[in-house]
């Protein structure tokens, strides 16, 4: 053997110490409390939870270790807490506030008496006493490749990552070489998760073979889609996995510089990644002469200032170069001519996070997950009218129906499903008839939607599809960089027409214009923002045309959503005499007392805020919403006259 230790030997020395520590955690001597403390946890109050545990432990004079972890994806159940009490399997609890923390300390951590079933979500390991998390449909159907350690390890601990096999893929690539890893990623058919689904291996190969040096890799963590937060979650919950993928990509193409472009609105992701870079550098896993080899990589974080279009790769490069974030015409592609004119590979956070697993387990293993054309998993952030909102990771190829109804528990409050909008602001809206569409890049595109970055909004039957189209076009036309004619001016015209429709104004010509102009914007725009922006309009037109027609032909909003086309009235049959629960809630004092001491709405004064619907006690449920407004029946209402009112007091 040579006197110089191999990357593997250097790594295993680091790993041994980490594993020892990890083993100790698995068989704890004192209770260990894991608290989900990523952005979603914090928003749900995880800091108070931690303080609650600390205070209660101190009061009781108990000893326990508190470890903060990232996000498991079950955002609806945050703050999530896992307690590993010696002798018990690790138990996960949901919605643990400071109060619940105190109860858990008093009844469980003190003496291990009562494991508080009322907050229990499930055990993390199979056992005889407790239901496990794997028994839930959510877990049963999920397939975790990218998120497998999210929420289970401490993102601020390099040791945790090392103990679960971290950086072993980097060491392997350091020994096997750039050509090998490019071939491996190619043969895995890993497609970019940033939206377009371009094969990562091919992109790497182009950059690897480009002549110009030095070369650059960029991790795209811009994530500008409203409602999408999987990239943030990955950076916050398992930052080293992103960095390992980034380092492998750099090695594959021969880059010496790596940049993580993260939006400035993600301060926790920025600080977590920065801390991870420093820790990895300290252990010689990044920086100069990585693991004793002659591969060096300078890694930095660039904070983007938050324009949606800056997620587009050429605009992102402009932004790093200090220019206005405007896309430029491709080719040349960044892999040939990118940052400062150098060959540059840009990959999404999820794409890079997948790389270590592929290197570790092999391309064959990866191809066995998902579909033939799109192997692997998809991460969706599911929001809207769905029972279990949050992040889900499923194999590519499962149907939308399966994802929405099995994995995410279906529509909230048992209401009917209406549509699902997939792919971020410029994804398409698909109706029930398309629910059998398998989730993968090509099938979704064919259906008129797209994978995009994995944003998914589920909508029930109270959602107006014209309003939905208006909402998304409003977003994209706002975020257009303003460079090219079709996107800058065309989307504005779409918006104007849609605005009119939501007010009941429009014509057959307007509908025709939406269709043709929409198609032409797709063909004529310079970058994919414009090329996809009309999707929400075109798909809603295709699948919900009746709803468009109702708006301008009958001045009716079938979903009872568009304010200008609805009215509220109170049903005198069910309104309870003498009740005035609704009166105080009305911001415009539109609700008055009728001559028979029930309530009615003065249509002139009503601003249609809908507050009275919620204020009316469910046992009366007397406020009705109708469209068009002329549907308000003439109930022959007379106000209670002043004198009578005074007499009654």
């Amino acid at each position: 053997m040579s006197s110089n230790p191999t990357p593997n030997e250097i790594l295993s020395e680091l790993t041994q110490a980490a594993e020892k520590q990890w083993q100790a955690l698995q068989n704890p001597a004192v209770p260990v409390i894991y608290v989900g403390h990523a952005t979603c946890g914090r928003a749900a109050g995880s800091q108070e939870t931690i303080d609650g545990f600390k205070d209660a432990l101190e009061e009781k004079g108990l000893e326990a270790e508190i470890i903060t972890v990232g996000c498991l994806g079950h955002c609806y159940a945050e703050p999530l807490v896992t307690i590993h009490y010696p002798g018990f399997p690790p138990l996960m609890y949901q919605k643990v506030g400071a109060g619940e923390a105190r109860v858990l300390v008093n009844s469980f951590i003190q003496g291990g008496e009562d494991p508080c079933f009322e907050y229990l979500l499930g055990a993390l390991e199979p056992n005889d006493t407790f239901p496990t998390l794997m028994d839930y449909p959510r877990y049963l159907y999920e397939k975790r490749v990218i998120m497998d350690q999210c929420g289970l390890i401490d993102p601020h601990s390099l040791d945790h990552y090392l103990a679960v096999g971290g950086y072993q893929s980097l060491a392997k690539v350091l020994e096997k070489g750039d050509k090998w890893v490019v071939e491996e990623i190619k043969s895995a058919h890993l497609r970019g998760r940033g939206g377009a689904g371009f094969p990562a291996g091919i992109k790497w190969d182009i950059a690897r073979q480009a002549e110009k040096t030095p070369k650059v890799v960029i991790c795209n963590g811009d994530e500008g889609d409203p409602g999408a937060y999987m990239d943030r979650t990955l950076m916050e919950s398992n930052p080293h996995q992103v960095l390992e993928g980034l380092a492998i990509a750099a090695l594959a193409i021969g880059a010496s510089r790596a940049v993580l472009y993260i939006r400035a609105e993600y301060p926790l992701a920025v600080s977590t990644i920065e801390q991870a870079i420093a820790a990895a550098k300290e252990c010689n896993l990044l920086g100069d002469r990585i693991l004793g080899t002659d591969f060096s990589l300078e890694v930095s974080v660039f904070q983007g200032s938050g324009a949606f279009v800056c997620g587009e790769e050429t605009a992102l490069i402009q932004s790093i170069q200090g220019n206005r974030g405007m896309p430029r015409y491709r080719p040349p592609y960044p892999a040939v001519e990118g940052l400062d004119g150098l060959p540059t590979v840009i990959n999404n956070v999820k794409t890079l996070s997948t790389v270590p697993a592929i290197v570790r387990k092999g391309s064959h293993w990866f191809r066995n997950i998902g579909t033939e054309k799109t192997p692997g998993t998809a991460i969706f952030s599911v929001v809207g009218d769905v029972e279990y909102a949050g992040l889900v990771e499923v194999p590519m190829g499962v149907s939308l129906e399966h994802l929405i109804f099995e994995v995410c528990g279906g529509i909230k409050d048992g209401k009917p499903f209406k549509a699902v909008q997939i792919g971020g602001p410029s994804g398409g809206c698909l109706p029930e008839s398309e629910l059998s569409t398998p989730i993968d890049f090509d099938s979704l595109r064919q259906a008129g939607a797209m994978m995009g970055s994995g944003g998914m909004v589920v909508m029930n039957d109270e959602t107006c599809m014209v309003e939905v189209a208006r909402y998304f076009i409003d977003f994209t036309q706002h975020e257009s960089c303003g460079k090219c004619t079709f996107c800058r001016v065309g989307t504005r015209h779409l918006l104007e027409i849609l605005k009119g429709l939501t007010k009941g104004e429009g014509s057959d010509d307007d509908i025709a214009e939406l269709q043709t102009l929409g198609e032409e914007i797709i063909k004529g725009s310079l970058c994919s923002l414009g090329k996809t922006a009309p999707n929400p309009v075109l798909t809603t037109l295709r699948f919900f045309k009746d709803e468009y027609l109702a708006h301008y032909r009958e001045h009716r909003c079938p979903a009872l959503m568009c304010r200008d086309l609805i009215a509220y009235y109170i049903d005198l049959e069910t309104c309870a005499r003498g009740c005035d629960a609704c009166v105080a809630c009305c911001p415009t004092e539109a609700i008055f007392t009728t001559s028979n001491r029930k309530k009615a709405i003065d249509q002139e004064k009503c601003v249609k805020c809908g507050e009275c619907v919620y204020a009316c006690p469910p046992e009366y449920d007397a406020v009705r919403k109708v469209s068009p407004p002329e549907m308000v029946p003439d109930q022959g209402i007379k106000p209670l006259d002043k004198e009578e009112e005074e007499n009654n007091e």
Binding site: R324, Y329, K483, C484, V489, E513, E520
Partner: protein, 233 residues
């Protein structure tokens, strides 16, 4: 790679030869084949390809492409007047016109404006009936530069002025500002000492603007006075 090597291609059935590396738009224009264009300038390495008027169809490529951003290739077969091309060109033009002031008679660029030329070529009016007129949410005339006035509702945002200005010694006196529909040209640092004198000598942006959206204040005042006199006479 010698610049002098010639490439032969066919455009609308006509065989033309141009030096290798030439942009397709330039190759056509130099050979008497007009393609509408607003944002291209000859020596640009990466043309912005933003006006979307110079579209052509190239055999073997699925959709119309901006000719300003394609390099000529040997044996390329190009069509500049297909239905698909015209449809998109007309829509792009309609969209530009839908935000345009439409007061040609009062404009210094009247009779030599690129929009008038394109309108004639495409047989399109300078007022669109199909789309409503949406002016930008900005004043008609912006006068915050010491000697140049800018008229947002004439500007087609071709970016030529930004490009030429960045090529002058005065690094970026001009740039794009705001986003989306309200994107505009803005003078940065125009209050600084010396800008007025510098720009008066430079005039690059005023001269390159294809639609007369940038003018020297005094020249415009004189023009309008003159016009007023003619009208009253």
């Amino acid at each position: 790679m010698s610049k002098d090597r010639m490439v032969t291609l066919t455009v609308d059935g006509l065989e033309i030869s141009v030096p290798q590396g030439t942009k397709l738009l330039k190759a056509c224009l130099d050979n008497g084949i007009y393609i509408p264009n607003l944002c291209y300038i000859d020596d640009m390495e990466h043309p912005p390809a933003s006006c979307r008027l110079c579209l052509v169809e190239i055999e073997g490529r699925p959709d119309p492409l901006p000719s300003c951003s394609q390099k000529v290739e040997d044996g390329m077969v190009v069509h500049t007047e297909t239905d698909a091309v015209r449809l998109l060109q007309k829509t792009a033009f309609r969209l530009l016109v839908s935000t345009n002031h439409g007061k040609c008679r009062l404009c210094m660029a009247n009779k030599h404006c690129a929009m008038q030329q394109i309108a004639k070529f495409l047989h399109m009016p300078l007022r669109t009936k199909k789309l409503r007129y949406i002016p930008k949410d900005m004043p008609e005339v912006i006068e915050d530069h010491p000697c140049i006035v800018y008229e947002p509702n004439k500007c087609v945002l071709c970016g030529r002025c930004v490009y030429v200005c960045s090529r002058q010694n005065y690094d970026f006196a001009l740039d794009f500002a705001r986003r989306g529909f309200n994107t505009t040209i803005s003078f940065f640092g125009s209050q600084e000492e010396g800008v007025g004198d510098y720009c008066r000598n430079c005039r690059a942006c005023v001269d390159i603007c294809p639609v007369g959206a940038l003018n020297f204040k005094d020249e415009r005042d004189a023009f309008l006075q003159d016009l007023q006199a003619k009208i009253s006479a």
